[in-house]
């Protein structure tokens, strides 16, 4: 255990045993201690990690990503788009200008989708929480699967030839050539600070709620019941997890600690990964925004392709884990 985390353990000790006066070793004490330790630790780590991730991201503004992508063809284009989706700062409110910018500059539709699929799945908050709560193995699995889902989803959409399903006006736009800002170190640090402030103030409440529910599940949820319905033996669990995950978008951050607690109660890894991806990749607000540039048919194709890929990831991991 890192030395810094000692502070958070001491803090949780102080709150649990001294302030609340809960007797050490009881189930309630464990839950309360776990809650205060985890929330303070995760919010601290989020702040630090988002800062460094944002420094990296300051090197990849969408304008630069667009320029880079127009150099790659076919499969390499999909791979690059998916990888750049990880490092380019992205918020769903910017998806339309990014979409128009990409398509307008001649980047193939499928490559654009590779970017748009991976970008929300592999977001900085989800990554930090996955690495902190689940450790590097599952965090990396999630990262790699997210990139794969973006590559595969984009290739399928490209193959289906959906160019006519883009709103006509998108092709008529010719955007002004915008210059890429040259940033110096103090700009990057300011950008990173602003990102930390913005993201942490947006997600902290969900983190606390998620960990709170997770702590309650740790202590009190019946394990047998969950394992029966969402364990690796139930073939429909992955599909159910994806369907349930879609409307939970707003709480994508909060779902991670809950999922961790559920896994402790027997929910299979693949099912859990699918669920987390569905909460980030497919969301109603994002679809409504995208509807401004693509027709309903392509929205349906998008949801279907991404949904099936995510379900595929779930089955793959459940299958692989049964041999480990």
């Amino acid at each position: 255990m890192l030395l810094v985390f000692e502070i958070f353990i001491k803090f949780a000790d102080l709150i649990t045993y001294n302030l609340f006066g809960i007797e050490e070793g009881t189930r309630l004490a464990d839950s309360v201690h776990f809650f205060f330790y985890d929330t303070t630790k995760i919010i601290f780590l989020l702040s630090i990690m988002i800062f460094f991730i944002s420094i990296v991201r300051s090197y990849f503004p969408p304008e630069k990503t667009k320029k880079l992508l127009s150099n790659y063809k076919k499969i390499t284009g999909h791979i690059m788009a998916s990888l750049l989706g990880v490092v380019t700062p992205f918020c769903s409110c910017s998806s339309v200008p990014i979409f128009i910018g990409f398509v307008e500059s001649g980047i193939p539709l499928g490559v654009t989708f590779s970017f748009l699929i991976t970008s929300p799945i592999v977001n900085e908050v989800a990554l930090v929480m996955l690495y902190t709560i689940f450790g590097w193995k599952i965090g990396t699995l999630y990262l790699v699967s997210g990139i794969l889902v973006g590559i595969v989803g984009g290739i399928v959409i490209e193959y289906l030839g959906m160019e006519k399903q883009v709103e006509e006006y998108v092709y008529q736009i010719s955007a002004q050539e915008s210059e890429i800002e040259e940033l110096n170190w103090s700009d990057r640090i300011n950008f990173a600070k602003a990102e930390v402030k913005e993201i942490v103030s947006r997600v902290w409440l969900y983190v606390i709620i998620g960990i709170g529910i997770g702590a309650a599940i740790h202590g009190y949820a019946p394990a047998e019941l969950l394992a029966q319905y969402a364990g690796a033996d139930n073939p429909l669990s992955v599909i159910a997890a994806v369907i349930v995950g879609i409307p939970l978008y707003a709480n994508a951050v909060g779902t991670i600690p809950i999922v961790e607690a559920l896994m402790g109660k027997g929910v299979a890894l693949g099912t859990a990964l699918s669920f987390m991806m569905a909460t980030t990749a497919l969301s109603l607000p994002a679809m409504i925004i995208l509807r401004k540039v693509i027709k309903p048919k392509l929205i349906t194709v998008f949801i279907t392709v991404v949904g099936i890929s995510i379900i595929g990831v779930g089955y793959m991991f459940n299958f692989v884990m049964s041999f480990v």
């Binding site: 503004p61 409110c93 910017s94 339309v96 200008p97 910018g101 955007a175 915008s178």
Partner: protein, 76 residues
């Protein structure tokens, strides 16, 4: 002078407009604030990350909420 705020109406865009208003008040510069919320127009201005701020039709800062100080520098 015309200050343009580009953004689809999210919280950050509102914050940016507020900062612009403060910057105008504090500097006393004659300027009006125009909001562009149409995605098509935003894209046509070459903006790929919102919110963004432009002065007299030229996009100056994009992809973040410019601070009052930054806007003051732009307009004075």
């Amino acid at each position: 002078m015309k200050i343009t705020i580009y953004g689809p109406g999210c919280k950050n865009c509102v914050n940016l407009a507020d900062n612009a208003k403060k910057a105008i008040e504090e500097t006393g510069v004659e300027a009006e604030i125009v909001k562009v919320e149409d995605m098509k127009e935003i894209a046509m201005a070459g903006i790929m990350s919102t919110p963004a701020i432009g002065i007299d039709g030229e996009v100056k800062i994009k992809g973040k909420v410019a601070t009052v100080e930054e806007i003051k520098k732009l307009i004075s």
